[in-house]
Symmetry: C2
Subunit: 267 residues, 2 copies
């Protein structure tokens, strides 16, 4: 950012209409748990490119000028509101990363800032102002690999590089569950320890030891807070009533709740 730098000079004298433009969009990975499985909110395209394929909800950032300017986060909230339209205040939203490889959009150079949202169970998406079709799609039917690709035979091919963005979002979610209390963003208050455990088991896709999980959650300061109440009845297949909890005031879990069997992931 100095005048001797040609790039900075360029910025100082920049008249954007003279240069190759870059478009900026925001795409949102919205995760929720439905029917015991991890789901992501997708919309279906029916115009080229990628016509007929599923994609993350997204849209342009309003730059200001003829439109009111908005922050990147505000753009993400606007896009999310187009599909879900309710209780946005309860939804956790964080920036995931930016994706800008040349050619990721065949029409022009597009930089997409991806956001990641964690939501408690929501109704079917209104295919409202944002989509011809919108749906909660089980994450596992997309056949995502760790490398951000889709396995051959996946019935729903994702448009653009959205498979990679989604894979990054899933890994971020798995990781955030370890050291933050964000699992509570997937449930509605009040909730039981078992509901919280199901969140972990679903996102991590592995069973956890119920007793150890229970001990751990209650021993981490500020993770959950007892309401003093219990459920009105036992579970659908028996068992005693569960105590009910709400979110605590911790922003970090200390000590963290680590995924089992991470040794293999180390190298």
């Amino acid at each position: 950012m100095t005048p001797a730098d040609p790039d900075q000079d360029f910025l100082a004298r920049y008249d954007p209409r003279e240069y190759d433009p870059i478009a900026v969009t925001v795409d949102v990975v919205t995760l929720t748990i439905r029917d015991g499985g991890l789901h992501v909110l997708l919309v279906r395209r029916d115009e080229p490119p990628f016509s007929g394929q599923w994609a993350l909800p997204g849209g342009f950032v309003r730059a200001g000028g003829t439109q009111p300017a908005e922050t990147l986060r505000e753009a993400a909230i606007r896009i999310l509101a187009g599909e879900t339209s309710e209780r946005l205040g309860e939804i956790h939203l964080e920036q995931l990363g930016s994706y800008g490889d040349p050619g990721r959009d065949p029409r022009m150079r597009v930089i997409s800032v991806a956001y990641l949202a964690f939501a408690p169970e929501l109704p079917e998406p209104l295919a409202g102002p944002g989509a011809a079709a919108a749906a909660w799609v089980p994450a596992d039917v997309l056949g995502l690999t760790e490398a951000g690709a889709q396995r051959p035979g996946s019935t729903r091919k994702l448009a653009f590089d959205h498979a990679r963005i989604l894979a990054d979002g899933l890994e971020r979610a798995r990781s955030k569950l370890e050291y933050t209390p964000l699992a509570t963003s997937f449930v509605t208050e009040p909730f039981t320890i078992a509901e919280l455990r199901q969140v972990y088991e679903t996102v991590w896709a592995e069973p956890l030891h119920a007793g150890n999980f229970h001990r751990k959650v209650l021993s981490v300061p500020g993770f959950v807070e007892s309401t003093g109440e219990t459920t009105q009845s036992g579970g659908p297949r028996g068992g005693p009533r569960s105590r009910l909890y709400r979110r605590g005031d911790a922003r970090l879990l200390h000590p963290a709740l680590l995924r089992p069997g991470r040794e293999e992931a180390v190298r």
Copy 2:
């Protein structure tokens, strides 16, 4: 990304020259350890806005068209090369986040994708193709607060929102040392355990227990690997020769090396 979405329609018919433009830049937070302190690479501006103030090295992303297109990462490498120009292969580089609030650049709407680099000790920056002045600046003289502001009285005011970007980069670095072997990116091979400990103590800004650190580093599989050699002499103030190590093959530290006294940061 469907035709019913006005934003997507907009994209399909987008002629960028008709709309309010957004510029995309890449800024790089480059951290290194010099003279026992954490330093960041900054350049000095001498044109408005923020003339005379320090800023992160940055530049436009080459969109393609009249210029060859580059990825965001390639842009970051190009910017880094302008200042440091050597051994870029050894430098760890990762995306930090994107910053796009309206008004962050008074000239126009600019989205900046920030990258974070960890470098071993490098020579004074060539104020080369990238800067009228470039320097390694001790991170502590910038008076950064956790909130991303600068304390009043800081002698070097950072331009734009670079104080926040730098604060985010520092926190990312502190955090990454816990669960990745990236501390080894701050030293040149071969290195001693004490050198590695100084990296942690510098970045975390707190003293560590030498014996426990030693035990821990050697017990985490794949963190470091012995070369079988030792230093040629003891330390400058005495002590025996140290064994030398190189980087191991671990990508994650398991178990992690946690910062002491994190309980206060939890809420």
